[in-house]
């Protein structure tokens, strides 16, 4: 891995996720296979082992060549792989630049996206990525080749313009351009055109895509820990507020809670798998939480 990719792919996090894969159902079927309910059958079958025929086995799986040589019935078992197409949509608007710790929201979102791409590619699935704000700024179509990870990372590192977010036109265009149904993962803070987000998700869902929404929020945004006279200047909006933050904290948290509840409700309505990611949490933990929840979902 290049130093850049190492920046987003924390080895420790990947190691812990790998251990969880062993325990999860998805480990058997492939991490991403266990993480989503694919509507497709795999087209490539790789021989795994022979076992003795037992009553009830499908006679079509009996290896007649072994029976001819050894006069014993053995059944061939195959390791079936999914043929997943993972589309990663990362919000690159100005609001994603806020940071209270070492990682901005965008850093966090890009790390998550790269990690997911790595996981998909490592299991032979195709992974693609797009970074957008008010339109798609950079993208790479889904591929399965090993070098695809480098392409994804390059897309994530594309310089951004600090613009606002316009979810609906972006998601609409992606819905029209994604060639096949697949898993669409959107990593965003959802600040901006919120109605557009969920309209876009509905649109993608109607086209048969499986949807995952990773909602990235900074710890400051969730806790609002400020004190002392402070002047807040909008990253995406021109407003400014000079205030005692503690005096507005209660109202802020109430509005935030309403926002999160609305996001969860509307994501559920769009049958979108919603997960809140805090920038203060270890990323591996966030991924584990997300994968574990995916693993518990009914097939």
């Amino acid at each position: 891995m290049t130093p850049v990719s190492r920046r987003y792919l924390h080895p420790e996090a990947i190691a812990r996720i790998a251990r969880l894969e062993l325990r999860a159902r998805a480990v058997v079927e492939g991490v991403l296979a266990g993480l989503h309910k694919s509507p497709y059958k795999g087209q490539s079958v790789e021989f795994l082992q022979h076992r003795e025929y037992v009553r009830g086995d499908d006679l079509r799986r009996v290896d007649w060549k072994v029976w001819g040589r050894q006069d014993r019935l053995y059944v061939k078992e195959f390791e079936e792989e999914t043929n997943l197409r993972l589309a990663l949509l990362v919000d690159g608007s100005a609001s994603m630049d806020y940071r209270s710790g070492p990682l901005s929201k965008y850093d966090c979102a890009a790390t998550l996206a790269a990690s997911l791409a790595w996981l998909a590619l490592s299991h032979g699935d195709a992974a693609g990525c797009a970074v957008f704000d008010d339109r798609v700024r950079a993208s790479v179509p889904a591929r399965t080749k090993r070098s695809q990870l480098t392409n994804v990372v390059e897309v994530l590192e594309t310089p951004r313009g600090g613009r606002g977010t316009a979810f609906l036109p972006v998601l609409k265009s992606l819905a029209e351009t994604l060639p096949r149904r697949g898993l669409v993962v959107i990593v965003s803070d959802l600040l901006g055109d919120r109605d557009g987000v969920f309209q876009g998700l509905q649109m993608l869902r109607k086209r048969g895509h499986d949807l995952v929404l990773l909602h990235v929020m900074d710890e400051d945004e969730l806790e609002f820990p400020f004190d002392g006279p402070t002047r807040f200047e909008g990253l995406e909006v021109p407003e400014q507020i000079a205030c005692n933050p503690r005096a507005l904290r209660a109202g802020y948290l109430a509005a935030l809670e309403a926002f999160l509840a609305d996001a969860r409700r509307r994501a559920a309505a769009a049958r979108c798998d919603y997960s809140l990611v805090r920038t203060g949490e270890p990323l591996d933990a966030a991924l584990v939480k997300f994968l574990s929840r995916r693993a518990r979902m009914p097939l």
Binding site: F232, E233, C243, A247, Y252
Partner: protein, 747 residues
């Protein structure tokens, strides 16, 4: 209406009230900037809470301003002075303490013996005790302390009165300051009574804004101090009329050991010239209730001990005089001091006097005889009497001059002026004579055939306004026969002729008077004129009369000096005796002018063209050098002044512009009446102060009663209010989210 113990703190502290506002404004300028993503939630919160937050902030600001104001007011110790405050015990109390430090307070009597503690010591303890009790009492008190002598001295010096402590706030540290102040206060040698101090107290109490006022008079309540009872009562009545509580504290001891006072130390006649015997009288007064005997009197002459004397007995309340004959060998100022043994009051056991001794003392003889100089004229007989010759030195040097010399000579250089049958006087001569007499000089007129009665009445008597003692009618023959009707001359009660008084005096009996100047018939001197007879004639008319004029004395002998109208001067020794006694008597007024009392400033009048302006004073008892610079006073004279606080001999030295030095001695003594230890007594005090509410305590039984004077302080209510404000401020601050929420412990 609220008042404050420390009102200046209010003015210093009030600007601090603006501190919360200023801090708020500064915070507005010190906003930290945050570039924020989730503005929509913040904007929603602001829309929702804007009004509430603003109101809370304003309320918080008001509470913080109120808290600062409360702290400032608490430090300034507020009190309520209104009707409610009065009902609950009044507010601030102003105490004015007048401490009598006249020298009678130095009385160390302890019963009928001399103890170790003076009345002034007890007075200081009383004042300290009052201050100490006020310091521990509740309520606010301010304390003003003044000494009786301070106000008397200020009056003598013409300076404004000053209290030793002026409205000092009574606080714990005040007690030590009061103690230090009292320790520095000696009992003075002043004889002042408390009237001046009480007048100053009246003014001080009238100008104060305290809710309650108390005047403490700490004194020994001697009868002498209350001689002007009406004036004392009047000023105390005016003080108490203003609502002032009057407390009298008596520091005198029960009973008295008695006191002896040197009442006088003076030259008892004679002429202060070198080599001439000068009688010095020391009069000792016994102010005790029983006679004393064997009183030793010491006399020092220019610091040198002289043989002392012992007074055999002095009756109770009486005076005994011990005479010392002193002969000064050199001219100049000589200091004599008389001292008696220590008794209850030490200050009046010492007295000093200055005797200015000259080689010869000039007297001016104005001879009205235009042919003067004959051995039969008035001037001859008078000059012979005043200066008989080397065999009998009198110290006098008569200088015979014609009348016109009055206008040209410096009359102040003469000890006495004798005018012998002068026919008339020009106005300049009259003016010079009157100025001389008013300044303390002695003038003697002799009549005679040249005397023009009408001119004399018009120019010199001037219906009593002039120099001459009586209006004259004209020369009259005495007539009659002396032996049948008694001697021609009768001695009246007067010190000049005291030596001739007695049953019969053959020398005076030998005097024959044939003619004299009669006083206008029916003349009655005005009341208070001071006219006295020295000698009268057989027919009852005056022969020699005396009347004060200004500070001096004028004597009129209504006959001739030469044996023309009488034979007195012809070989009669009594002529010489009376003339010398008369000269001493007349000159005594000028010699007494140098006697000063403690508190009266010394004055050295300089000649601006001849003297330097710097004068060095030597101050008793150890001769401390005090430098003073002369200044031109209101009278236009160049004068160097020195306040006097101790009795004794002072000296003033200054240089003349020609390089020579001059020195003048002063004797400063205590007032003799202060040594009378008679008490006013409670009964007389009650009568004197009838109608004036006062409380009388002895020093031993004093209860300052400061607890009853304590007022209600607003400090505690204010502190409770301040506490409530701070609690509310915290609640509002919490409600306004100025407090961070408690952190949950990590799971």
């Amino acid at each position: 209406m609220p008042t404050f113990d420390f009102p200046s703190l209010v003015w210093w502290g009030l600007p601090l009230v603006a501190a919360p506002v200023i801090i708020h404004l500064i915070n507005l300028l010190r906003h930290k900037q945050v570039r924020w993503a989730a503005m929509e939630f913040l904007l929603a919160s602001q829309r929702k809470y804007r009004t509430r937050v603003l109101l809370k902030q304003i309320l918080l600001l008001c509470l913080r301003v109120a808290a600062v104001l409360g702290v400032v007011l608490a430090l300034a110790q507020p009190r309520w002075q209104h009707a409610l405050g009065q009902l609950l015990g009044a507010g601030r109390t102003s105490h004015v303490v007048i401490l009598d430090d006249s020298y009678s307070m130095g009385d160390m009597s302890a019963g009928d013996r001399v103890g170790e503690t003076s009345a002034f010591d007890r007075g200081r303890l009383v004042v300290e005790r009052i201050g100490g009790e006020l310091a521990t009492a509740s309520g606010g008190h301010d304390f003003t302390l003044g000494r009786v002598s301070s106000f008397a001295r200020a009056a003598d010096e013409g300076s404004p009165p000053r209290f030793d402590l002026d409205r000092d706030a009574v606080a714990p540290a005040f007690v030590q300051r009061l103690r230090d102040e009292l320790a520095r206060m000696p009992c003075s040698q002043s004889d002042a009574d408390p009237r001046g101090a009480l007048a100053a107290a009246l003014e001080a109490l009238g100008s104060g804004a305290a809710a309650a006022k108390v005047l403490w008079l700490v004194s020994d309540f001697r009868a002498k101090d209350w001689q002007a009872a009406d004036e004392m009562a009047d000023v105390l009545r005016r003080i108490t009329a203003g609502g002032v509580e009057l407390r009298l504290v008596d520091c005198a001891a029960e009973g008295t050991a008695g006191n002896l006072t040197i009442e006088r130390l003076e030259v008892a006649g004679g002429v202060p010239a070198t080599g001439v015997v000068l009688p010095i009288d020391v009069a000792v007064r016994n102010d005790s209730a029983r006679p004393v005997s064997g009183v030793a009197v010491e006399l020092r002459e220019d610091g040198a001990e002289r043989p002392g004397a012992r007074i055999d007995a002095i009756p109770a309340g009486g005076v005994a005089v011990q005479r010392f004959d002193v002969r000064f060998p050199t001219s100049g100022s000589h200091v004599i001091e008389a001292r008696i043994a220590a008794d209850a009051v030490p200050a009046d056991n010492l007295r000093s006097a200055v005797v200015d001794v000259a080689d010869r003392i000039d007297v001016l003889v104005i001879d009205g005889d235009p042919q003067g100089g004959s051995r039969t004229g008035d001037a001859f007989y008078l000059a012979t009497a005043l200066a008989p010759g080397a065999g009998a030195p009198t110290g006098l040097r008569p200088r015979v001059e014609p009348p016109r010399a009055l206008a040209t000579l410096d009359l102040a250089a003469f000890d006495c002026i004798w005018l012998l049958d002068v026919p008339q006087f020009d106005p300049p001569e009259v003016a010079a004579l009157e100025a001389y007499a008013k300044g303390g000089g002695g003038v003697v007129f002799f009549g005679g055939p040249r005397t023009r009665v009408d001119v004399l009445n018009r120019t010199l008597h001037r219906a009593g306004a002039g120099l001459y003692p009586v209006p004259l009618a004209g020369p009259v023959d005495l007539g009659g026969v002396a032996t049948a009707d008694g001697p021609d001359v009768r001695v009246e009660d007067h010190p000049v002729v005291a030596v001739l008084s007695g049953q019969r005096n053959p020398l005076l009996d030998a005097v024959r008077v044939e003619r004299y100047l009669a006083v206008e018939r029916g003349y009655e001197p005005p009341s208070g004129d001071g006219l006295r007879r020295l000698l009268s004639l057989r027919n009852g008319v005056p022969f020699v009369v005396e009347r004060p004029f200004g500070a001096g004395l004028v004597v009129a002998v209504l006959s001739t000096a030469a044996p023309v109208w009488n034979n007195w001067a012809r070989g009669n020794p009594s002529w010489v005796v009376v003339m010398l006694e008369l000269e001493s008597h007349l000159a005594a007024a000028r010699r007494r002018a140098g006697a000063l009392e403690v508190g009266v400033p010394l004055e050295v009048v300089l000649e601006s063209g001849s003297d330097a302006h710097d004068v060095d004073f030597l101050v008793p008892p150890v001769g401390t050098l005090v430098h003073q610079t002369a200044a031109v006073g209101a009278d236009g004279r160049l004068t160097a002044r020195l306040p006097t606080a101790t009795a004794g001999a002072y000296a003033a030295r200054w240089k003349r512009l020609d390089g020579t030095e001059r020195e003048r001695a002063f004797a400063v003594n205590v007032g003799v009446d202060e040594g009378r230890l008679e008490r006013i007594g409670r009964d007389r005090l009650d009568r004197t102060l009838a109608g004036i509410p006062f409380r009388y305590d002895t020093a031993a039984a004093l209860d300052p009663g400061s607890g009853t004077l304590a007022g209600v302080s607003l400090l505690h209510p204010l502190l409770y209010a301040l506490l409530a404000i701070l609690v509310i401020e915290q609640i509002v601050a919490y409600a306004a989210s100025y407090h961070l929420p408690a952190r949950r412990p990590a799971a």
